[in-house]
């Protein structure tokens, strides 16, 4: 994996920072919430303790003696903010948003034609308001001739009044419109009670009745049921008066048990006592053992207007608010779920709810009569104290604290990442620079490579490495240069002893000018020594070839020549020089005059000689060697010529990649020796392609080699130089 990719991968670790910040925020949020709940719990318990100690107050609110009562028989009367119009129309009740109490007949086997009875009850001032919505598919009105209190569908109200005892009313109507509330007095006479007023109205599924009566009529006991008169004197009933309402005759029966049903309503005295604890934004409830809300104080704050989206998102995230249940205010008058249920089991409990942009905390504490700390032997659960408050965990710190904390963390995190990634990038850039320089140094001449060698201002290990590499490179190049000059020096040094040998041999040969028989072996040896010295001479010449080419490049005088003519002539010349190969010359485009350029023909000829010599050595006999000359437009060189020699031999080995044109590099294996014809074979010191490159450079061009589909192509590219473009070289030797 490249350094750059490693770096990118490693910097992914920085993503841990936002995650950690998130965890931190969530923990902090939890802490804040716990603190707020603790405060609320303390308040709730204090309220419970205070109220529990006030036995008179609880007695007055009828919280103390209700242990045996059944919530199903109790009806909760909401405290209304405005009186509904008693006109049989339920529209004005809907504004109050109360949850009606639902009763059905046949609780166990509910069918479509079951009788259902929805009861809404409210208190305003001294009046009790009742809205009864009844679903009854088979409707009968009261028959005026009946001796029964009610002969059709009707409601019954059972109550217990002070001084008057139990009384059962039938609420009936002969037709939609005003109702009659009738009862039998103590002697069985049918009476109408005009204190109960109301209106009967037909609806699609049944009927609805709206009633208004004095609150005093419900002070002791109270029960309501709807009775459906079926065919065959059969009756069905739904409501709190049910158990006996279905009895044939109903209220008409002379003696009936007292009602157990109760009307529950808020207790103003208890409410006053509770309002002492109320603080702005906090709502307190007291419930009885059944969860009925018997007292209320305080109001919840209005929903906070929307915050900045980012801040809101942070708050949602920190509080994990998506997991909170939505706030559902109770409209039924009874708290049966949430913390209140736990408190009615005797434990303090709390719950968070989501409501708009805020949260609502609900805390409930059990309310005991004879609070243990008040010295009573045994405490008795009387209900629960519930406190609700619209809260924002970060409120105490200010929401801006959260934003600030987040910003600080984000900025410091970002800074950390930038610095770390920046440092790593810088480090890797330096390493890559060194690596690139080392890579380029393979192909560049030493002075240029050293000039481009990175200098690090910071004196660290990397700078040391760079310096060591530089030293190494200098040594390697020094060694190569030494090797390069060694051949030249050696050839010079060897020439003198060789001259001694040759001249000695010549002298010897001259001394045996008149050979005798005894001299014959001597002549053979002389001839062998002469051949050997000639080979040595050829080797010495080959060794100094590069030096001589360099010298002739220095002395070369470019002239205007036609390159196309040169290539054509050379192809023809090679044709006769290498009879085992075919030569073709391809000039494209073949326009005359396009190839007039300033060049040194001897050098180009020498270059072609080297390339063709190579090509014939490496390609099989009878294959074609192609000489190509092209005009091309090069990014680097501009308008340039490409001179290439392609053969059909084996491809270049990859290990020579990049150093093919180096001095003393050879593809050839095996020692040079005498070929079968007895002629000394050519000496190959790996200078041929080096000379090619020297000549390419002398023409301001470059040499390249690449494998083609069926062989190898060597080429040089050099810029076109029209005669006028280049000033004539100063003539050094004349």
């Amino acid at each position: 994996m490249k350094l750059r990719r490693q770096l990118a991968l490693i910097s992914l670790i920085a993503l841990v920072l936002p995650w950690a910040l998130g965890q931190y925020l969530q923990v902090f949020d939890r802490l804040l919430r716990e603190g707020q709940i603790r405060a609320l719990s303390a308040t709730a318990e204090a309220v419970a303790a205070r109220l529990g100690a006030d036995t008179a107050l609880l007695d007055n609110a009828q919280l103390s003696n209700r242990a045996s009562l059944d919530a199903d028989l109790e009806i909760y009367a909401h405290t209304l903010t405005s009186p509904p119009m008693v006109d049989g129309d339920g529209q004005d009740w809907q504004v109050l948003a109360l949850t009606p109490r639902l009763f059905t007949s046949d609780v166990n086997t509910a069918t479509d034609d079951s009788l259902t009875f929805k009861l809404s009850t409210g208190v305003y001032g001294d009046s009790l308001f009742i809205l009864a919505e009844v679903t009854d598919h088979e409707r009968r009105f009261h028959h005026s001739g009946s001796t029964h209190l009610a002969s059709g569908d009707h409601l019954i109200i059972a109550n217990q009044q002070k001084l008057r005892g139990s009384r059962y009313y039938a609420i009936r109507a002969q037709a939609p419109g005003r109702i009659e509330a009738v009862y039998r007095d103590s002697v069985g006479q049918r009476q109408t009670d005009y204190r109960i007023r109301g209106f009967w109205r037909e609806t699609g599924e049944g009927y609805q009745v709206e009633l208004r009566m004095p609150l005093t009529m419900a002070s002791e006991g109270f029960a309501v049921s709807a009775i459906s008169q079926q065919s065959g004197a059969k009756r069905r009933a739904a409501g709190t008066a049910s158990p006996w309402a279905e009895v044939a005759g109903g209220p008409d029966v002379g003696v009936l048990p007292g009602t157990e049903g109760r009307l529950i309503q808020q207790q103003p005295l208890l409410g006053d006592a509770l309002s002492v604890f109320a603080r702005p934004g906090m709502r307190l409830w007291v419930t009885d053992r059944q969860g009925w809300q018997v007292a209320q104080a305080g109001q919840l704050d209005a929903v906070t207007p929307s915050r900045q989206p980012l801040l809101q998102w942070l708050l949602d995230f920190a509080g994990n608010r998506d997991a909170l249940p939505p706030w559902q205010p109770s409209h039924s008058g009874r708290l049966q779920q949430g913390p209140a249920a736990a408190a009615l089991n005797g434990t303090v409990d709390y719950h968070w709810y989501r409501n708009g942009n805020d949260d609502i905390a609900s805390v409930a504490a059990p309310l005991y009569l004879d609070w243990p700390s008040a010295g009573a032997v045994e405490s008795q659960l009387a209900g629960a104290v519930v406190i609700e408050q619209r809260l924002q965990p970060w409120q105490g710190l200010g929401s801006s604290a959260l934003a600030r904390l987040t910003w600080i963390s984000a900025i410091s995190g970002a800074l950390l990442i930038i610095v770390l990634v920046g440092y790593a990038s810088w480090l890797s850039a330096r390493i890559r620079r060194l690596s690139r320089a080392a890579n380029e140094a393979q192909s560049l001449p030493l002075p240029q490579a050293l000039k481009q060698w990175p200098h690090y201002r910071l004196n660290d290990e990397l700078a040391d490495l760079s310096g060591q590499y530089r030293t190494l490179l200098t040594q390697v190049h020094g060694h190569t240069d030494y090797l390069k000059s060694l051949t030249g020096k050696l050839s010079h040094e060897l020439r003198t002893p060789l001259a001694i040998v040759r001249s000695s041999l010549d002298n010897m040969a001259a001394n045996v000018d008149t050979p005798r028989a005894s001299d014959e072996p001597l002549m053979v040896y002389l001839e062998r020594a002469r051949l050997g010295s000639e080979r040595l001479s050829a080797i010495i010449t080959a060794m100094s070839e590069a030096d001589r080419v360099e010298a002739s490049i220095k002395a070369s005088e470019p002239e205007v020549i036609d390159l196309a003519e040169l290539v054509n002539d050379m192809a023809a010349a090679y044709h006769s020089a290498y009879p085992n190969h075919r030569f073709t010359a391809t000039i494209s485009p073949a326009s005359t005059g396009a190839y007039q350029s300033l060049a040194t023909p001897e050098l180009l000829v020498q270059l072609l000689d080297k390339l063709v010599d190579n090509a014939t050595d490496f390609s099989p006999a009878d294959t074609t060697i192609e000489l190509q000359l092209q005009v091309c437009q090069d990014d680097e060189l501009g308008l340039s010529y490409r001179l290439s020699v392609c053969n059909q031999g084996p491809g270049l080995p990859p290990e020579l990649e990049g150093r093919l044109f180096n001095s003393l590099t050879s593809l050839r294996s095996g020692p040079s020796g005498v070929n079968p014809s007895g002629q000394p074979s050519r000496v190959h010191l790996g200078l041929g392609l080096y000379i090619v490159e020297l000549i390419a450079h002398a023409h301001h061009g470059r040499a390249r080699a690449h494998n083609t589909a069926d062989g190898v192509c060597f080429m040089i590219e050099f810029p076109a130089r029209s005669p006028g473009m280049s000033a004539k070289r100063p003539e050094t030797y004349r």
């Binding site: 010079h492 040094e493 020439r495 003198t496 060789l498 001259a499 001694i500 040759r502 001249s503 000695s504 010549d506 002298n507 001259a510 001479s537 010495i540 010449t541 100094s544 070839e545 030096d547 001589r548 080419v549 010298a551 002739s552 220095k554 002395a555 005088e557 003519e565 040169l566 002539d569 050379m570 023809a572 010349a573 090679y574 020089a577 023909p601 001897e602 000829v605 020498q606 072609l608 000689d609 030797y733 004349r734």
Partner: protein, 231 residues
């Protein structure tokens, strides 16, 4: 009287070998190991021909210096450089200093002796009247083989022995391409291709000095050179 050849060579063995060979041919040979001794001897008496090594011991360019001195004293004296070095720079330097020929040390003795003979022949020819039958005429070119002189448009062109034989070989068969080997054989030299090329260039330049439009020596790429007849 035997001709005197002076060999100035720091390598005793080579000098001895050459002396033996030349003595065998009837020349009188004096050998000097370094420049001062050679200069001292030349002050006494000039030789008929001098063979000078370019590098004389620690005196790397001593041969050139000696050549300069000798040439100033005797303009007609044939001087031959003999050196282990073969790069073109030395060849050119030597010839510019007025040497008549330039030989590398690994030249065969036969070749060397042929060159020395040729030089003496030229000296001799200069002292005798020119013979018409020794003259080769190609348009405006006139070559006298016995005097080894060349004239272009009646102006003398001063060529070295090697240059002379190269030109002679080209002009002998106008239009025929002579490859390098043929030219080397004609001039009795063993040179590498580059040196032949620079000889050709030098010949062209010498002609150009008296005729700007000279273009008779043509290059046949990859083959050699040819003498082009006047159009």
């Amino acid at each position: 009287m035997a001709r005197t050849i002076a060999i100035v060579e720091d390598e005793q063995a080579i000098a001895d070998n050459y002396r033996d060979a030349l003595t065998r041919l009837g020349y009188r040979v004096n050998h000097y190991l370094n420049r001062p001794s050679a200069v001292a001897a030349f002050n006494q008496a000039l030789p008929d021909l001098a063979i000078i090594d370019v590098g004389l011991g620690d005196d790397v360019e001593g041969g050139f210096e000696l050549c300069r001195e000798l040439r100033s004293r005797a303009p007609e004296l044939p001087i031959v450089f003999l050196t282990a070095r073969s790069d073109e720079f030395d060849v050119i330097s030597g010839l510019r200093l007025g040497a008549d020929d330039y030989l590398t040390k690994d030249i065969g003795q036969a070749h060397m002796l042929a060159r020395i003979n040729a030089l003496f022949r030229r000296i001799d020819a200069l002292r005798q009247p020119a013979r018409a039958d020794d003259t080769l005429t190609r348009g405006e070119l006139r070559i006298n083989t016995s005097r080894m002189s060349v004239h272009w448009r009646e102006q003398p062109i001063d060529l070295t022995v090697t240059e002379f034989w190269i030109l002679h070989s080209l002009a002998l068969h106008p239009g025929h391409v002579k490859n390098r080997q043929q030219l080397m054989d004609a001039a009795n030299v063993v040179l590498d291709d580059n040196t032949i090329t620079s000889h050709i260039k030098r010949i062209r330049r010498k002609f150009s000095q008296c005729d700007d439009s000279f273009d008779r020596i043509q290059t046949a790429y990859g083959m050699g050179y040819r003498w082009r007849e006047a159009p």
